[in-house]
């Protein structure tokens, strides 16, 4: 009995000596985490799992998909009708992309509210934004692959934006297309890049988490960990909490996959792409709508492109725009209100982006776009300077 146990330990020891994987996992489990994290902190791990779901479903879809302009649409229908569980793989992947953005948007909002982007976590924030940008590129290219009407025309509209670049704009666009319009070469390269980018995202996620582990997670008080009393081991407290949160997330996910799989999509993408016929309203997927609204709000083409990219780039400057000495929105009563107004503004931008740029929507779009930048360039620095914040607690454990 004793002999057998000793032998088993030796195998673990043998591996451990060459690659300390077991002690690494043990360390992760024992990793000290603030004890007061609320459910908004679940969305990091949920986003990680969403990424894994996309990669695994995507991998198996790629076994049956044909990235050729003549056969792409048909290959997706064949997956839906002929491949065993093909419909499940397809809907998991399509709904999964939306769910991934839901998780990431809530994750970002948490960061905005609790000041997680502030020193010393600026690089965690930067790598997070990089992940977000890569996600958007991946999602954009992925949507083109079924080669439906929205795939084709969405690709045409967005790639055409690069023609706004002065002097070399047209050449850049032809380079992106591999031709004189969106076509077979475009589809092929989008497939390759759509397959590749997620693995780059995985690498950036690892850097993102590594950077986080240097100083540990932020927490709802915004006050840094002062002693061991403020913390608990990650396992079992947050592992179990994460599993519970994952369960709730998967219930929402499953409801859409099995009962409303096309609710978040657009019917026009079930029409084969036709270069001769433009859909009545070209709309991107919901997670792009706020940026789409900003793009259309500026009357000039180049201006719109610059505004759209700036809307994301401004986030990189947040650690320096926000001069407030108080980190967490819980102790910033004015910021709290203005934060929710900002969220409302982004949702409004999304609603505006979904509508044709006519009539009242043109003006609403311009007001909302102006407000978006006003929030970052005027409100945030202004609050930092003038806001009277509440007294922050001495530590996580001791409330004042």
């Amino acid at each position: 009995m004793i002999r057998a146990k000793k032998k088993k330990q030796t195998v673990v020891d043998w591996i451990e000596y060459r690659l300390p994987i077991f002690s690494f996992i043990k360390h992760l489990g024992e990793y000290r985490t603030p004890k007061n994290l609320n459910y908004l902190w679940n969305f990091g791990s949920i986003a990680g799992i969403a990424l894994v779901i996309q990669i695994v479903t995507g991998l198996f879809l790629a076994m049956h998909y044909s990235p050729n302009a003549d056969t792409a649409f048909g290959s997706v229908e064949s997956i839906m009708r002929n491949v065993n569980y093909g419909w499940l793989l397809r809907y998991l992947h399509a709904v999964g992309a939306s769910m991934f953005f839901v998780a990431v948007y809530i994750h970002i909002a948490r960061g905005l509210y609790y000041g997680s982007y502030k020193s010393p976590r600026e690089l965690v924030w930067f790598f997070g934004l990089l992940i977000f940008i890569l996600m958007m590129a991946t999602a954009f290219m992925g949507y083109v692959l079924p080669w439906g009407q929205m795939s084709f025309w969405g690709a045409t509209v967005i790639t055409n934006l690069f023609s706004a670049v002065p002097l070399v704009g047209e050449k850049i666009v032809e380079f992106l297309w591999g031709g004189f319009s969106v076509g077979d070469p475009t589809l092929n390269r989008f497939f390759v890049l759509h397959y590749l980018l997620p693995f780059i995202i995985v690498a950036i996620v690892i850097i993102h988490i590594t950077a986080l582990h240097v100083h540990g997670s932020n927490n709802p008080t915004g006050v840094e960990v002062k002693s061991k009393k403020d913390t608990i081991p990650f396992h079992p407290y947050y592992t179990v909490k994460d599993f519970f949160g994952l369960g709730v997330y998967l219930i929402v996910f499953a409801y859409f996959v099995f009962y409303q799989p096309n609710y978040l999509g657009h019917p026009d993408n079930y029409i084969e792409s036709n270069p001769m016929v433009t859909p009545e309203h070209i709309v991107p997927e919901w997670y792009f709508l706020p940026f789409y609204a900003i793009l259309r709000a500026i009357p000039s083409k180049l201006g719109g492109v610059i505004a759209m990219f700036s809307a994301i780039l401004v986030l990189f400057f947040l650690p320096w725009l926000d001069l407030s000495k108080t980190r967490s929105g819980n102790y910033r009563p004015i910021f709290k209100i203005l934060f929710w107004i900002f969220i409302l503004n982004v949702i409004s931008l999304g609603y505006i982006g979904a509508n044709p740029p006519e009539g009242i929507y043109i003006w609403l779009g311009r007001i909302a776009t102006f407000y978006y930048f006003f929030h970052f360039f005027v409100i945030i620095p202004g609050l930092g300077k003038y806001e009277k914040t509440l007294e922050i607690p001495h530590s996580i454990s001791g409330k004042l």
């Binding site: 229908e77 009708r81 519970f244 219930i251 009962y259 009539g359």
Partner: protein, 251 residues
């Protein structure tokens, strides 16, 4: 907060515009068997719908993503499917002389299209294209109600409405003018099971058929969904209880 909501409401009202050519919202009268969590296929209705497709729509509209063998799913026997497939001529080849030839269809063949390509279809229909119907229900907002409303919605144009040559008035079609003439008239198809063949009945059966054609996995999907959701509910509750137990010890 109330002010914000009020302002938003005013904007919303102003923004909704209507004109004479904006299509009418589809009728939402039928309780479709495929709707809801327990949605299922009414196989009898789908078989009748296939008969309507075969006798009326097929002349112009293809169903190119369906195989004849798929019909077994809605209650046709293997022999019936073989007979249906064999009643069509399918292009095949080249043979040993290098010629393309025609042969009777097999269950493994895709549904034969009335036209070889879109251009031929347009040429035969005054430039209008009778769309493939395999995905029609998914390719239109509120697809089932839209198709049903369209089929049953042909009426005379209102006073002063200008109809272009070769088009017909239908309030449910974008622009309210459609190139397809009224496809269904009462009594047009003799149902083998004796069901009344009004335009409404035929349209309903046809929509059930097209819904199946667009989403053959629907029934299996919803059944699996129930099992998955049940599992996830138990999973989530269990982990909630474990979480509560473990965290209670902290206090």
């Amino acid at each position: 907060m109330r002010i914000i909501l009020g302002v938003l409401a005013i904007f919303w009202v102003i923004s909704s515009s209507a004109s004479v050519t904006t299509p009418a919202k589809p009728k939402d009268q039928i309780n479709w068997p495929f709707q809801g969590i327990f949605g299922h296929f009414d196989k009898q209705s789908i078989q009748r719908g296939y008969q309507v497709y075969k006798e009326v729509c097929q002349v112009c509209h293809s169903l190119k993503y369906l195989h004849y063998r798929d019909l077994e799913q809605v209650g046709f026997s293997a022999d019936e499917v073989k007979a249906i497939a064999a009643s069509y001529q399918v292009n095949d080849g080249p043979n040993d002389e290098g010629q393309m030839f025609e042969r009777p269809g097999r269950p493994s063949d895709l549904f034969v299209s009335p036209y070889p390509n879109e251009q031929a279809a347009r040429a035969a229909n005054n430039g209008a294209y009778p769309h493939d119907l395999s995905l029609m229900i998914k390719a239109r907002k509120d697809g089932a109600n839209y198709v049903y409303s369209l089929l049953t919605g042909y009426t005379n144009a209102p006073e002063g409405f200008q109809i272009s040559d070769g088009l017909y008035y239908n309030p449910y079609f974008p622009g309210r003018q459609i190139a397809m003439p009224t496809p269904l008239t009462a009594g047009q198809v003799e149902y083998q099971d004796g069901t009344e063949n009004s335009v409404e009945q035929m349209s309903q059966d046809l929509v059930n058929f097209l819904q199946w054609a667009a989403e053959p996995e629907m029934e299996a999907r919803k059944i699996l969904g129930l099992k998955v959701l049940l599992y996830l509910l138990v999973f989530t509750i269990l982990f909630y209880l474990v979480k509560k137990k473990i965290w209670r010890d902290l206090k």
